[in-house]
């Protein structure tokens, strides 16, 4: 009698576990979109019953995990090269766009008061400009009080898509940076100290007198960090705010971007913020478990339709409708289950 009860309890438990498992999707990767994915996950659970388990281990880690198929989807700010996508049989699509902003810790400098150009930023991170009262900085900021303080550049020590976006910008505005350092999720930084994650960079800049760092905009705005103005390609100084991000995002050339990897760095436009980027998801084209794969697409489909308000709230820029439609058709045509039928 007790055996029967125990056995039925066990099967019931396993069934509920299996039922719960069927609704869970796992992903890993960039810390850049982690806040919005987490919020989408909470809202989607209430609406569709899908449970998202997302680990923000960095873009490099996300790419590695999805190539080894240890997660259902990988998330990366740095778009994967076409060869790697081919070899790994992955489909890449964007979810939202966000901006990388520069934060500083200077005692007498207020929010968005400091102005620097892209070349100066590259020189600061290259260790060529070492003091805050350097003549070049003083010339651009005649009204600011710049102390005789050493500049403390802070960068991401872990493999990061935010680094890729920032280093791409520095490569775009400084040929010296492009030749000596280049752009990748992890580069050889000539100067400064490293910290782990967006939160590590903001904590280190907060702790260090004279610190400067690059973080994703949501971190800067929610922690009320002091940001600076940058000079964009059109020669205007722009503040890091939603309007300037949207101006940059609107100028994206989606139609000609292979694998949706559009370049939004240093775009023309009077009010465009120069460091904007889309963030991407990588999904296997030949999923071993079509149900889980369909659940991932169901989650992102729901996010496209219902998650825009949440994204804007967290200071990200939603994708244009046309791009969302293109992504949906890519899902339908490119992701096939083992028996050849489209999964979603």
């Amino acid at each position: 009698m007790t055996m029967k009860i125990a056995l039925s309890a066990l099967t019931l438990g396993l069934a509920t576990m299996a039922g719960a498992q069927a609704q869970q999707i796992t992903g890993a990767g960039a810390t850049f979109p982690a806040p919005v994915y987490t919020k989408w996950g909470e809202a989607a659970k209430a609406a569709t019953g899908l449970e998202l388990n997302y680990q923000a281990i960095g873009s490099g880690g996300g790419q590695n995990q999805i190539l080894q198929r240890t997660v259902d989807f990988g998330a990366s700010d740095a778009p994967m090269s076409a060869e790697k996508l081919e070899a790994g049989k992955l489909l890449q699509f964007p979810t939202v766009m966000g901006a990388v902003v520069i934060i500083v810790n200077l005692p007498d400098v207020g929010m968005n008061e400091l102005k620097i150009s892209g070349e100066m930023l590259a020189d600061i991170y290259a260790g060529k400009i070492t003091k805050w009262n350097d003549p070049k900085i003083v010339e651009m900021n005649k009204s600011a009080k710049l102390p005789n303080l050493a500049i403390a550049p802070v960068y991401r020590a872990d493999g990061s898509g935010t680094t890729f976006v920032f280093a791409s910008y520095l490569s775009a505005v400084s040929t010296d940076w492009k030749d000596k350092v280049g752009a990748a999720t992890s580069v050889k930084w000539p100067a400064g100290a490293g910290a782990k994650g967006n939160d590590g960079v903001s904590a280190t800049v907060h702790n260090t007198r004279g610190g400067i760092g690059y973080v994703e905009y949501a971190f800067a705005s929610q922690n009320k960090l002091t940001t600076i103005q940058l000079r964009n390609k059109a020669g205007h100084f722009v503040k890091p705010e939603m309007a300037s991000f949207q101006a940059a995002a609107a100028s994206g050339d989606w139609a000609n971007a292979k694998n949706f990897a559009v370049d939004l760095i240093d775009r023309m436009g009077d009010t465009s913020w120069p460091i904007v980027s889309a963030t991407f998801i990588e999904l296997p084209k030949d999923p071993k478990d079509p149900i889980r794969s369909a659940n991932v697409m169901k989650f992102f489909d729901w996010a496209y339709k219902n998650g825009s308000a949440l994204a804007v709230n967290l200071e990200y820029v939603p994708l244009p409708e046309t791009v969302q439609a293109a992504v949906r058709s890519a899902w339908h045509t490119q992701i096939v289950s083992p028996d050849g039928k489209p999964v979603y």
Partner: protein, 313 residues
């Protein structure tokens, strides 16, 4: 004259137990050998690609795919040695105080406190270091030193630079706090084993407390004291999470005392998740693990020779 011949086990239970014990002993050897082999074979592509220059190159460039071990090895050795220099005198002082000077009712609580310190997980030390020590260093200690000693003519250059708060010096401080409990507990336990008759006869001859310590206690316990110090050094060499938070994660050898750096453990912890399987970076990280293994082995060999020469004297 006559040596005992091992009797054949006559009972089943004895045979099984002997077999299990032998298996356990062999298992340790096999495990150790397995780890060495995995590290060496995994790191072979890096050794083959860079040769001996892997050990002397301070280049760590993921874009150009050139890697060198000099910066992490320097950081590991520098933090461990600095930590030992700070920890051993303090640990000795604690052990001396607990065995000779403290009132009896005080010894138990302090001894227990030391053992509790040893049990604190290392990531707690890392968090405490990052949230408490680093801001203090960045806001008070480092600016003070940079503004005062940094302005001096000759040695000033060594004390300048941005006040990050993190760095090799801060990491060595946190490591020192972590290894003091191990060394102090070992020293205290071993100081207490000195037979009272030795100490009493020395006091009878008119020795002061310090002379008793220096001439009787320390020579008697030298082997175990060195063993305790090696234990602490071993922990300092391999400590990962506490160091990763506070070392500054920079792949350059610092030119100033407050400069950031990297240790083998911290660079592996940070860069391992993003390294692709089969890439040169992964091979370099495994090669670094092998080098750390070799460093620990060399340290152990040095301590053995120290003990042997000490025993002869």
């Amino acid at each position: 004259m006559s040596h005992t011949v091992a009797k054949r086990p006559t009972h089943m239970g004895d045979a099984i137990f002997e077999g299990l014990a032998r298996f356990a002993g062999l298992f340790v050897l096999v495990l150790l050998g397995g780890i060495i082999v995995v590290l060496f074979v995994g790191g072979l592509p890096a050794f083959r690609q860079f040769g001996v220059s892997f050990l002397t190159s301070d280049d760590w460039d993921p874009v150009q795919q050139t890697y060198g071990a000099l910066v992490p090895v320097f950081g590991t050795l520098a933090t461990a040695i600095l930590a030992l220099l700070m920890a051993v005198p303090l640990a000795f002082g604690i052990a001396f105080y607990l065995t000779e000077l403290a009132p009896l009712w005080f010894r138990r609580p302090v001894g227990t406190a030391i053992e509790l310190l040893a049990a604190v997980p290392s990531i707690i030390y890392g968090m405490w270091g990052f949230f408490v020590i680093v801001p203090i260093m960045a806001e008070y200690v480092q600016p003070f030193v940079i503004d005062s000693i940094g302005e001096m003519p000759l040695i000033g250059g060594f004390f300048q630079g941005p006040p990050f708060g993190t760095g090799i010096f801060t990491a060595a401080m946190i490591l020192a706090v972590m290894i003091i409990p191990f060394i102090a507990a070992t020293m205290r336990d071993v100081f207490e084993t000195v037979p009272a008759v030795f100490k009493e006869s020395a006091y009878g001859l008119g020795c002061t407390t310090w002379e008793v310590m220096r001439s009787i206690v320390i020579p008697y316990t030298r082997a175990s004291v060195v063993g305790g110090i090696m234990l602490g050094l071993g922990r300092a060499l391999g400590e990962t999470m506490a160091v990763t938070f506070v070392i500054g994660n920079t792949n350059r050898i610092a030119t100033t005392i407050f400069g950031p750096g990297n240790t083998i453990a911290s660079i592996v912890a940070l860069e391992f998740p993003e390294s692709e399987t089969g890439s040169l970076k992964l091979a370099s990280l495994l090669a670094l693990g092998f080098i750390l293994f070799a460093i620990s082995f060399i340290v152990l060999a040095i301590s053995r020779t120290l003990l042997k020469s000490g025993a002869k004297a």
